[in-house]
């Protein structure tokens, strides 16, 4: 079944208020083109989740599309903080459920495996848990190990409405491969009601059948497949292109103030019709060619 559509068609399938799991990790495989299109379409009141906060979540929060975030903390690595997310938390303009990387991925895993809950050693004794119990009292509970009687923290399964995942290779059905570490992406996809795959390379299913051990996303879980080059820009896609350090610095500087962020959005999100215009604004083929990954190094 051919599920290939344009980015705007895929984004249009997401209603305001939906829970969207994002594939980004800091400055890599972040769903940037997706986030920009969400803002252009005026989708609002989203819940976004990911184990480690990334630039995609920061752009969505900066554009006012998010009312709740579930994440394990995050940054732009050495480029700086997730300024928009942090400011929104400090101002109380979004509700932030803060976890750790493992407690987030265990919530996705429980959702994926159909477990009613999952016990975990993390979070206990921390203010992170104390804060979480305030903002999301139904996300955690305590359970006694029926074998030893020991008390354990239990996490509620997480089942997002849709996972949006940036991959290197996919076929028209949505069967997809991810090169490099996959962090929480497999569990996000398996826990979500459906998945939107955004891929660098679109290949015939014939190619998938040649190396099926690599297929970490099953086609039947996928509702839309979008083939869009540099759709994670300015973040990196391993074996495809490197992060655009200059642009991330420009973003990090702009995001420090609401005014700066406003100007960034006006120019790079609202100032362009779509991702193709965005790429031209950056300098088109000439600029993007500089980011192409070395085939051996992968960056």
């Amino acid at each position: 079944m051919d599920k290939v559509v344009t980015l705007s068609e895929a984004v249009a399938s997401i209603p305001s208020g939906a829970h969207v799991a994002l594939s980004g990790f800091a400055i890599t495989r972040a769903t940037m083109a997706f986030a920009a299109e969400v803002l252009r379409q005026g989708i609002r009141d989203l819940t976004v989740s990911q184990c480690v906060g990334a630039m995609d979540a920061d752009l969505l929060v900066g554009g006012g599309a998010v009312s709740r975030i579930l994440y394990g903390g995050g940054s732009l690595d050495r480029f700086g903080r997730l300024a928009c997310v942090n400011r929104a938390i400090e101002e109380g303009s979004i509700v932030a459920e803060e976890y750790s990387s493992l407690s987030m991925v265990f919530r996705y895993m429980a959702g994926a495996l159909g477990l009613p809950f999952v016990p975990i050693r993390s979070l206990r004794g921390s203010d992170t848990l104390a804060h979480l119990e305030e903002v999301a009292p139904s996300a955690t509970a305590y359970v006694d190990d029926p074998f030893t009687g020991d008390r354990w923290l239990a996490l509620r399964p997480l089942n997002p409405d849709v996972a949006v995942v940036q991959v290197q290779v996919a076929d028209p059905e949505g069967n997809a491969w991810i090169y490099g570490p996959r962090w929480d992406n497999e569990e996000q996809v398996k826990a979500s009601k459906r998945t939107i795959v955004i891929t660098e390379q679109l290949v015939p299913t014939e190619v998938i059948r040649r190396d099926p051990e690599r297929t970490v996303i099953h086609g039947f879980r996928v509702s839309h497949v979008v083939r869009l080059p540099f759709s994670a820009h300015p973040t990196a896609v391993y074996r495809a292109y490197d992060y655009d350090a200059d642009h991330i610095r420009l973003y990090a500087e702009a995001a420090k103030t609401p005014e700066g962020m406003r100007a960034y959005l006006d120019k790079y999100v609202y100032g362009v019709k779509d991702h193709w215009e965005y790429l031209e604004l950056l300098g088109g083929v000439r600029h993007l060619t500089k980011l192409a990954a070395d085939p051996i190094l992968g960056y």
Binding site: F25, A26, I27, T28, C51, V52, G53, A54, Y71, G72, G73, G74, S75, D77, R78, F79, R81, N86, I89, E90, E98, Y99, S100, S101, L102, S103, V105, F106, M109, I120, R121, S122, L123, R124, G125, S126, D127, T128, H131, D150, R151, W152, L153, G180, P181, R182, W183, D184, N185, E186, E187, A236, Y238, D242, Y243, A245, A293, L297, G298, Y299
Partner: protein, 256 residues
């Protein structure tokens, strides 16, 4: 001899961290000095160390310095590229991690770490990176080593927010939270600390060459336990400094 070697405070911290690692141990590390220390140990006395990054990377051999764990530069030549569930689940929560190597905004007399916020959690505060895998590593590693700048604002009697629990407020509170392990060392640019077996309060173990006891105590926000005799920290060897400068961090990003 080694007295002749010039080294930066960060190089000394990295070397002190490396000395804490035994051959064959499995080490969970965040980026920065912990990585420099772990790579140094692996290239010197502990070649069989297994290095694990939370997002799904084991034993990489980077040839370029990365900006963070998400940078493909730090994944280069890894033996395993997998996932959080594989690393933090089956390796860490599964009980295989010997050492967790952590940094933070601030730590305290009981080795609790704060990477979440500064200020008043209920009122005006500034929010930072949060936990990532830090809370998980602090909760499930056999022992944790903390590397942090020696400043009054970073070494407090009690952190303003416990992101990753050490011994909490002592008195067996860590065990009451269902946790074993805990911090074994705190390495700063002025000294090395351990924890009192009974009270779990931070205890001065050694002072770096060139630092005075008054200087060490006068620049921290609480009074650690100070034994009668406090030796000087063993300085880096010329070979250790060479490896850091030429092989591990040639651009001096972490240890310069």
């Amino acid at each position: 001899m080694s007295e002749d070697v010039a080294y930066t405070p960060f190089e000394l911290m990295a070397v002190a961290g490396a000395r804490e690692l035994k051959n064959g141990e499995i080490v969970a590390v965040g980026l920065g000095l912990p990585v420099v220390a772990t790579f140094l140990a692996k290239r010197t006395h502990a070649p069989d160390i297994t290095i694990m990054f939370e997002l799904g990377v084991i034993d990489p051999e980077p040839i370029h310095t990365g900006v963070g764990l998400a940078d493909p530069r730090v994944w280069y030549r890894a033996k395993v590229l997998s996932s959080f569930v594989d690393m933090l689940g089956s390796v860490l929560h599964g009980g295989r991690v010997d050492v967790g190597f952590l940094g933070g905004l601030e730590t305290d007399a009981y080795g609790n770490l704060n990477t979440t916020l500064l200020g008043d959690p209920k009122g005006k505060f500034r929010h930072f990176v949060g936990s990532g895998g830090a809370n998980d590593i602090a909760s499930s590693s056999r022992r944790t080593i903390i590397i942090i700048r020696h400043e009054e604002r970073k070494l407090k009697e009690a952190v303003s927010f416990i992101t990753s629990p050490g011994y909490i407020r002592g008195d067996g509170q860590r065990a009451q939270a269902g946790l074993t392990g805990g911090p074994s060392r705190v390495i700063t640019d002025k000294a090395i600390f351990g924890f009192d077996p009974e009270t779990k309060r931070m205890t001065l173990l050694s002072i770096h060459p060139g630092c005075a006891l008054e200087d060490v105590l006068g620049t921290m926000g609480f009074k650690p336990i100070v034994p009668a005799h406090v030796p000087f920290t063993e300085p880096p060897t010329p070979e250790q400094v060479r490896i850091i400068r030429e092989e591990i961090d040639p651009e001096g990003i972490y240890s310069g």
